[in-house]
């Protein structure tokens, strides 16, 4: 029986049974949810389909958010990639397109999968679907990788937080990035230890990031931070797959994230009172959307 109390616990269990982390998670979740493994798998497969559709819907050129503040970035990025103009190559470019598309679709009241939250919903689809396309990886491997990502998310939720209001953006985009890095490593055939190192590296790079949404809306800077979180997931997975280890183990990084989140002032935890939300331009945009506030 596995628990989701530590990343190390998941790694040790997978090593002991010579299997992937996802194999253990799928079996355990079926038991916990009192459903067949097939049924649990099918639910996750449906989420992957929603993610794929969100990329398509989010790339529409005229897409605009409900507030009118954002939209169209994914389409611009796609044009750049299609024209061969983006400087980081096709794979990286198309990952950016997906991250922006799903996040912009969320802001435009489109259908998405919270992963782990709506504000960070672009990172995991961008990483997993791009990896699938570029390396011809099966749907089955992709769906299973989402179980590994979820397991990492559960450990973070239990030991720290996945909510911006509690832990800042590090808890939302940081967690999503760590989860995505874990999924990428498993999809690439990495070991459970490498999954853990990728998770640690991804999270270390986003520690301290505050949640300061302009006008309190899930748009600025959230959408672009989804692109950043995706890039970070690939960096972390790439390093881990090359055999580079995180000096600080994943579980200690998660505790550090929790402590950092606790010491952040409330103004930087989704209240739209500090950081970018308190800049002159942000206040102007806020007035533009909601009118003058007392």
């Amino acid at each position: 029986m596995i628990h989701y109390l530590s990343v190390n616990g998941l790694v040790q269990a997978a090593v002991l049974q010579s299997c992937r982390i996802s194999d253990l998670v799928l079996a355990q979740q079926a038991e916990q949810l009192e459903q067949t493994p097939e049924k649990v798998y099918e639910t996750m497969a449906q989420s992957l389909s929603v993610m794929r559709q969100a990329v398509i819907d989010g790339t529409y050129p005229d897409l605009r958010s409900t507030s009118g503040l954002t939209g169209g970035a994914a389409f611009k990025m796609k044009c750049s990639v299609d024209d061969g103009k983006n400087i980081c190559g096709k794979m990286f470019g198309s990952a950016m397109v997906k991250a922006l598309a799903v996040s912009e679709l969320n802001a435009a009241m489109g259908k998405i999968v919270a992963a782990p939250t709506a504000g960070s919903c672009g990172i995991i689809p961008a990483a997993v679907l791009t990896m699938q396309e570029e390396h011809r990886i099966s749907d089955d491997t992709a769906v299973r990788a989402l179980f590994t990502a979820s397991a990492i998310g559960m450990v973070i939720a239990q030991n720290a937080s996945i909510s911006g209001a509690e832990g800042g953006c590090q808890a939302e985009c940081g967690s999503a990035s760590a989860m995505a890095a874990a999924a990428l490593v498993e999809m690439a055939g990495g070991t459970p230890q490498q999954v853990s190192h990728a998770c640690a590296i991804a999270l270390k790079n986003i520690l301290g990031l505050v949640c300061d949404p302009v006008a309190g809306l899930v748009e600025i800077p959230c959408i672009k931070r989804n692109a950043m979180g995706t890039a970070n997931a690939f960096v972390a997975a790439e390093l881990a797959l090359a055999g580079i280890e995180s000096a600080i183990p994943a579980d200690e990084v998660i505790i550090a994230m929790k402590r950092i989140g606790d010491s952040l002032p409330v103004s930087l935890k989704e209240t739209a009172d500090g950081g970018l939300a308190d800049t002159p331009t942000a206040r102007k945009l806020q007035e533009q959307v909601f009118g003058k506030q007392e």
Partner: protein, 219 residues
């Protein structure tokens, strides 16, 4: 906690609290009315009042009243759809002392002239709490199968309901009672451990002193 709390739910954006949770509050109000709404007056408190336009909270609440789920692609057009079916909708900003920042007060009038009101809060991650039904205190999370039963405050009304459920082999997980005044309108809310059929609820509704019974499926 399970994997689908982490990767999931499938929802219409942009916010689990301001959009998905708002749909759920609206759904319960719509279910309680039990017929097509012709009029909806919606009060918004706190963050709901300040940011509802940017988060689509208005569309989400109305979509819920119309019976849509948080993943329904029509949520974005709900105000237009409601208008087309003849629902008169108004929003106003309000203040309730001590209320959760994401609180809505929904008053609905149905086609037959039936009126209901409901006060609920979206407490994060798409989870909700209903605090009042027709001005009477309740505490509904919607996580279990829930009965909302309006009845006359008279001896035997509660016993009749619990005996009826016992006879159907339905176990009660929680029970709460509230009333407007002695001998007046009262509401009992019961969470039960098994699913309930429409027929069973209709039979319950025919018990003496029961005004109406609404069953909410777990969400």
């Amino acid at each position: 906690m399970n994997v689908f709390d982490i990767i999931g739910p499938v929802m219409i954006g942009p916010s689990s609290s301001h959009t998905a949770g708002a749909v759920r509050i609206g759904r319960i109000a719509g279910a309680l009315l039990g017929e097509t709404a012709v009029k909806a007056e919606i009060g918004l408190h706190g963050s709901f009042a300040k940011t509802y336009k940017g988060h689509g909270t208005d569309k989400a609440l109305v979509a819920g009243i119309m019976g849509m789920e948080p993943s329904d692609g029509r949520i974005r057009q709900s105000l237009v759809l409601a208008n087309r079916q003849g629902m008169e909708i108004s929003f106003y900003e309000m203040h309730i002392d001590g209320a959760h920042p994401n609180t809505a007060l929904i008053a609905l009038t149905g086609r037959s002239g039936k009126n209901i009101s409901l006060e609920g809060a979206s407490i994060g991650g798409g989870n909700i709490r209903i605090h009042k039904v027709n001005g009477m205190e309740v505490d509904i999370s919607g996580a279990a199968t829930t009965f909302i039963i309006l009845h006359n405050d008279t001896p035997g009304a509660i016993a009749a309901v619990t005996q009826f459920l016992a006879g159907q082999n339905i176990n009660i997980g929680s029970f709460r009672l509230s009333r407007r005044q002695k001998g007046g309108l009262a509401v009992m809310t019961l969470e039960v451990d098994s699913p309930v059929s429409t027929q069973l609820n209709q039979d319950l509704e025919r018990l003496p002193n029961i005004i109406s019974s609404t069953v909410l499926a777990p969400q």
